[in-house]
């Protein structure tokens, strides 16, 4: 009687389709704000964005319908199975990560944002050292002097590469003003 427990579940692609639909609608509205220029020809600058918005909305609806159709086919097969074996749900496209795994991936972005916030204050070498050390520890390296040493070496090598070799200025931070 396993199959009787199988109920309709909103497939992941439906949520993706709804998000893309919202993007399409928003893009359509934003396209309406594109100003009219006297240089506009027969086709103005908003024409293609409007077409793209319609295309995105259309594809989103198709994605939602496809996902619901697949779910309906699965439920029909499950009902047919009745008292026999419950069928396996069709595999979803992409990768199935747990919430923890998603949070771990998002942590990399957070480290990047923190780096960008401290960069104007601490300058390149110190910020890059913290970025390398922080990321390495976050991904699995042991926190300690060795990791810090690696981070210092990497930051210094990049500093020499960009500033000395390629003559590209990198943020110095508050140090020049503090040190007079």
């Amino acid at each position: 009687m396993q199959s009787s427990a199988i109920r309709f579940r909103i497939p992941r692609d439906v949520w993706i389709g709804l998000a893309a639909l919202a993007l399409g609608v928003w893009y359509w509205r934003a396209a309406g704000d594109i100003p009219i220029s006297p240089l506009d020809g027969v086709v103005n600058a908003a024409a293609l964005p409007r077409m793209l918005a319609v295309a995105m909305i259309l594809f989103s609806v198709l994605l939602i319908l496809r996902a619901l159709l697949i779910e309906a086919m699965f439920l029909r097969a499950a009902r047919r199975a009745a008292a026999t074996v419950a069928p396996e749900r069709p595999e979803e496209e992409g990768i199935r990560f747990t919430r923890q795994e998603h949070l771990k991936a998002a942590g990399v972005v957070v480290i990047g944002i923190v780096y960008l916030l401290i960069l104007p204050w601490l300058g390149y070498v110190l910020s890059a050292t913290l970025l390398v050390a922080g990321t390495a520890v976050y991904i699995g390296a042991r926190a300690g002097l060795y990791t810090l040493g690696v981070a210092v070496v990497v930051a210094l090598v990049y500093y020499l590469l960009f500033v000395k070799l390629l003559a590209i200025p990198l943020p110095a931070g508050l140090w020049p003003s503090l040190l007079g």
């Binding site: 594809f59 396996e88 979803e92 930051a155």
Partner: protein, 502 residues
């Protein structure tokens, strides 16, 4: 002969020759690191090309692609982990030979086959690109628009994943391309009052974000790769006697690589596996495949290096890239003000022949760079993954910052990293997005210019024979792909039903 003298002149008067050697060296290291695909190795290099002259920059990128295809075979043979997707076929026999104590021999076969495949692919590139671009000279505005649409539909149809998701990714790429000042009317679009967006979003930012940044996010959840035991790492190039046994497999690999390279969406991995199967079919010792066959390494390695050259045929002839790496290379050309396509031969012959010359240097120098770079590549492969990934993160940020000296670009990289991550997780293909981005201007500008000619009459698109032919082909590809999707869905439904019946 003009082409040869032009190439020689370019190579002797610009730093392109050093770029070719440096590109191969970086490519071997990038390819050897599992998780750094050739496209990521190229994307990481893009910001550094801004200050270079166009020939040096594109030769550097092209040579990186060449080197990365060989580099991928190093961990495939030594640690049973392919450095690139295209090296996955090399694992089977390469690692078997390593376990038998013949790792150095396997590395030598891989290197020699890669050089041969690369050179054969390069000859094909040189011979066929120019005649193809002459065909494309007959193109007008509607034909260029149709070509852009065909390119997008072919990539959408042949990319991994469902057709609908491919089309959504392409639409998203085209949407990103509309950000900034409209080049035809001068009005701003989707800039939200941000002055940094007035010139649009640089290709490099999107590419580094979706390829490299998203990989860094994925890597937070993946375990470290295996490490080499440091044995049998001395490359032993095949003797003449051994090479006589390999030439057939190398020929098959090169042939398959040439074919797959010019086919949009195919790429090195399909070429490698196809050539492996064909080499086995035509081998006098098919039973040895999977048990340390030399031909099992020669065929896929010749194939993926041939692809690295012939993937440039559609880029240079029509301005349509067929793979992620080719799309990044095309992005590099656009950054330097070069418009890939038929007019490139007319306007920039020095660039085209210089690129051919640079790729020739890259392929030949790979033979000694493969030996020279083995030690540093292995040293890096043996470093713990967290340190390498952290160093790549800092390199991404430093490289992107150096373009405009702006942290705004870095926030955009993070944003596109999240976009790339979501695309990976939700099963969307990357290539349609990147292609939509690089073809956005071509499609829009030629669409609007065509309608200017006819005061808004859309019939111009099917009254122009080339445009009609290309648009018909685009429709055929999409319909064919839709039918394939439906058949796959029906097969999956049948499987579910059979599973239900026990």
């Amino acid at each position: 002969m003009d082409g040869i003298s032009t190439a020689f002149n370019v190579l002797t008067t610009t730093p392109a020759i050093f770029a070719a050697i440096g590109g191969v060296a970086w490519g071997i290291i990038g390819g050897a690191l599992p998780g750094i695909s050739p496209s990521i190795a190229l994307a990481l290099l893009l910001p550094f090309t801004y200050g270079m002259d166009p020939i040096t920059a594109i030769v550097l990128l092209g040579a990186t692609y060449v080197g990365a295809e060989y580099g991928g075979s190093i961990p495939a043979i030594l640690i049973n982990t392919p450095g690139t997707n295209a090296a996955a076929a090399t694992v089977v026999d390469g690692y078997y030979m390593h376990r038998e104590g013949r790792g150095g021999e396997a590395l030598g076969i891989s290197l020699q086959s890669g050089v041969i495949g690369g050179l054969i692919g390069l000859i094909f590139l040189i011979v066929f690109t120019e005649p193809l671009s002459r065909v494309a000279l007959a193109f007008n505005f509607p034909a260029y628009f149709a070509l852009g649409i065909l390119g997008l539909s072919v990539i959408v149809s042949l990319s991994n994943g469902s057709l609908i998701k491919g089309m959504m990714a392409a639409t998203l790429g085209l949407m990103i391309a509309t950000i900034g000042t409209d080049p035809l009317s001068g009005v701003t679009r989707f800039t939200f009052g941000e002055p940094e967006l007035l010139t649009g979003i640089e290709y490099v930012i999107v590419m580094v974000g979706v390829f490299a940044m998203s990989e860094l996010m994925m890597t937070a959840n993946t375990p470290d790769w295996g490490k080499t035991d440091g044995k049998q790492t001395r490359i032993k190039l095949p003797s003449f006697k051994t090479w006589r046994k390999l030439w057939k497999a190398q020929g098959i690999g090169s042939g398959v690589g040439i074919f797959e390279g010019v086919m949009p969406g195919a790429g090195g991995s399909i070429a490698a596996f196809m050539s492996y199967n064909e080499a086995k079919r035509w081998s006098s010792e098919p039973e040895k495949f999977g048990k340390g066959s030399e031909e099992g390494i020669a065929a896929p390695e010749a194939a993926n290096n041939a692809v690295a050259c012939t993937a440039l045929v559609p880029v240079l002839s029509f301005g349509i890239p067929g793979s992620n790496s080719a799309a990044i290379l095309m992005g590099g050309m656009l950054i330097h003000g070069l418009t890939p396509g038929p007019m490139l031969f007319q306007k920039e012959p020095e660039f085209v022949y210089g690129l051919f010359g640079g790729l020739a240097v890259a392929n030949i120098s790979q033979l000694f760079l493969g030996i020279l770079m083995m030690t540093p590549a292995l040293w890096l492969v043996n470093r713990p993954k967290p340190y390498l990934m952290a160093a790549i993160f800092a390199l991404v940020f430093s490289g992107i910052y150096s373009i405009h000296n702006s942290t705004y670009d870095l926030y955009l990289v993070l944003l596109f990293g999240v976009v790339g991550y979501l695309l990976r997780v939700f099963g969307f293909p990357f290539l349609p997005l990147v292609l939509g981005l690089v073809l956005g201007y071509l499609v829009e500008a030629n669409y609007r210019r065509s309608l200017e000619l006819t005061a808004g009459d859309h019939r111009i698109f099917w009254e122009t024979p080339i445009s009609l032919g290309l648009l018909s082909a685009a429709v055929l590809f999409l319909v064919g792909s839709a039918v394939r999707d439906i058949l796959v869905a029906r097969k999956a439904a049948k499987k579910v039903a059979e599973g239900a019946q026990g």
